[in-house]
Amino acid sequence: MFALRNTARRMIPEWTPGRITLAIVVVTLVAGLLPFVKMSLIVNGVFLGAIIALGAIGLTLIYGVLNFANIAHGDYMTMGAYVALFLLTGLFPTFGIEGEGLGPLTFGYPLLIALPLAAAVVAAGAILLDVAIYRRLRRRGVNAVVLAMASLGVAIALRGLVQVIWSGETQHYPREFRQVFRLPLDVRIPPDSIFIAIVAVVLVVGVYLVLTRTKMGKAMRATADNPNLALVSGIDTQRVIRWNWAIGAGLAATAGVLLAVFQAQLLPIMGWKFLIPLFAAVILGGIGNPYGALVGAFVIGVTSEVSTQWINPSYKPAVAFAIMIVMLLMRPRGIFGDSG
């Protein structure tokens, strides 16, 4: 209750003249363009934003506690998607767990089992990678750039691994054709997208509750605030780091599965291509601020979808990238941070 109020207070910016001008410009632009924008693109952008949010929250949490940009985050998403593919097409059928077309959804109930399992597998894998690589580097006291470069290596290795095991061909989960929901204003919503939104909302609320209500969640925020003070307070920072990876990578894997459902296909490059929207959302919200990443994700999701009305959809990452650059130049600490 109180925590909610505190968050709300932090999200309300001080009204300096610069910010008022910025707000007026943004509102005018949005209001002016709105009549020309297809409603369906905005709706689609919100669903895309929900997936970006799951990845971006994990990315920003890892940055907060470990202080480095995890370039392999997109490939944790890919891993999640493919682990679920293995479960759905390889493992489950041997136990007779099969089926697609659950109600209005294209996929069947096995996906509901595969989703948490894939998240758990990737979370465990992320902890193992930390022990094998990042922890050794931290103990040597290397700087953040070295850690980020190590994660670039992990990203490339993971993508290679996916290609070796599952080939580079386009694949998809077992699915059955389903009608989309037709709403006024020519909005078409695939039922799968509603499922994606529900999963995202549940997980975001869950992460919020963990961060504000549980001892481990508070310890994660404390460690992100001040690692040395956390140590001398007796906080077991190694355990904090393990939980941090588990939550961050688990959310990424979930985002990967949802992305595979959303795009109705899996490709080894899918997560890597998602990295720019993820970083754009994180930077927009202020690096290390999970609430900011949530807002940033929806801004990026909607903007890049809406941009496809005027420019070729293959330039979507370029839109996210442009927003990121403008943000870094104008407000490097994010929309909720202090300027400069």
Binding site: F2, R5, N6, K218, A219, N226, L229, G234, I235
Partner: protein, 234 residues
């Protein structure tokens, strides 16, 4: 046997050696103050004792156990808590959450202890859900001390508790230290405001360039003309 015995401690950062063999002892229930010019190694001594800086040679014994190679979270469990000079609260956490983090290793119910801290520092009790980052310097210092007291420590290390505070705030913080000491908690302080700190200390040490220079009773150091000339500003 002393409560804390740091003996011929050598420590530093990277290639730089800051402490060239410093020895300090604190007995049960004592207030001990370390004074000395800037850069003499006072803060490094604190960090070496709590395990944030590696002790290269020499030893640190606390409650008859060698703690010189132990990580900070283990040392804290023995009842030795530490308040750094700056960045000594978690700014994005509320006052109450800061106190909860101070009690992180406690598995029992520590609500009573939080209530005691609010009694000791009534300023903090006014709005316990306020973010620590929005507190004034004095309130922040009180929160930092309260956080460290959450574990019922036997010995509390304070690095410059009065740094950056107004004179009224400073004497208030120092008064609190005397109050807490009366409940049996021993203190090892590092202080710029040497005169005020020595007045309330049982004993004091003067460090200079990473070495022990003098040690004596608090009042005796205050009366020492050499100390007065060099470190107390006349």
């Amino acid at each position: 046997m002393a409560l804390l015995e740091a003996s011929r401690v050598v420590a530093g950062y990277g290639g730089t050696e800051i402490l060239h063999g410093v020895s300090v002892t604190v007995d049960n229930g004592e207030i001990v103050t370390v004074i000395g010019p800037n850069g003499c190694g006072k803060s490094t001594l604190m960090k070496a004792i709590v395990g944030l800086v590696k002790v290269r040679t020499g030893s640190v014994t606390f409650r008859d156990e060698d703690i010189s190679s132990q990580p900070p979270e283990r040392i804290v469990r023995r009842g030795l808590c530490y308040v750094p000079q700056s960045a000594n609260v978690f700014p994005s956490l509320s006052i109450r959450e800061n106190l909860e983090m101070g009690a992180f290793i406690r598995d029992d119910d520590y609500e009573g202890r939080i209530a005691e801290m609010f009694e000791l520092f009534p300023d903090l009790a006014v709005r316990p859900n306020r973010k620590a980052g929005s507190l004034s310097g004095g309130q922040r210092q009180m929160l930092a001390v309260a956080r460290a007291l959450m574990l019922d420590p036997v010995l509390l290390l304070l690095d410059e508790p009065s740094a950056g505070l107004s004179p009224t705030m400073m004497s208030m913080v120092l008064e609190r230290i005397v109050d807490i000491n009366a409940t049996g908690v021993a203190f090892l302080l590092v202080e710029q405001n040497a005169r005020e700190a020595l007045r309330m200390s049982h004993r004091g040490y003067v460090l200079s360039a990473g070495e022990n220079r003098l040690n004596d009773a608090g009042q005796a150091l205050l009366d020492n003309p050499e100390v007065a000339r060099l470190y107390l500003g006349g």
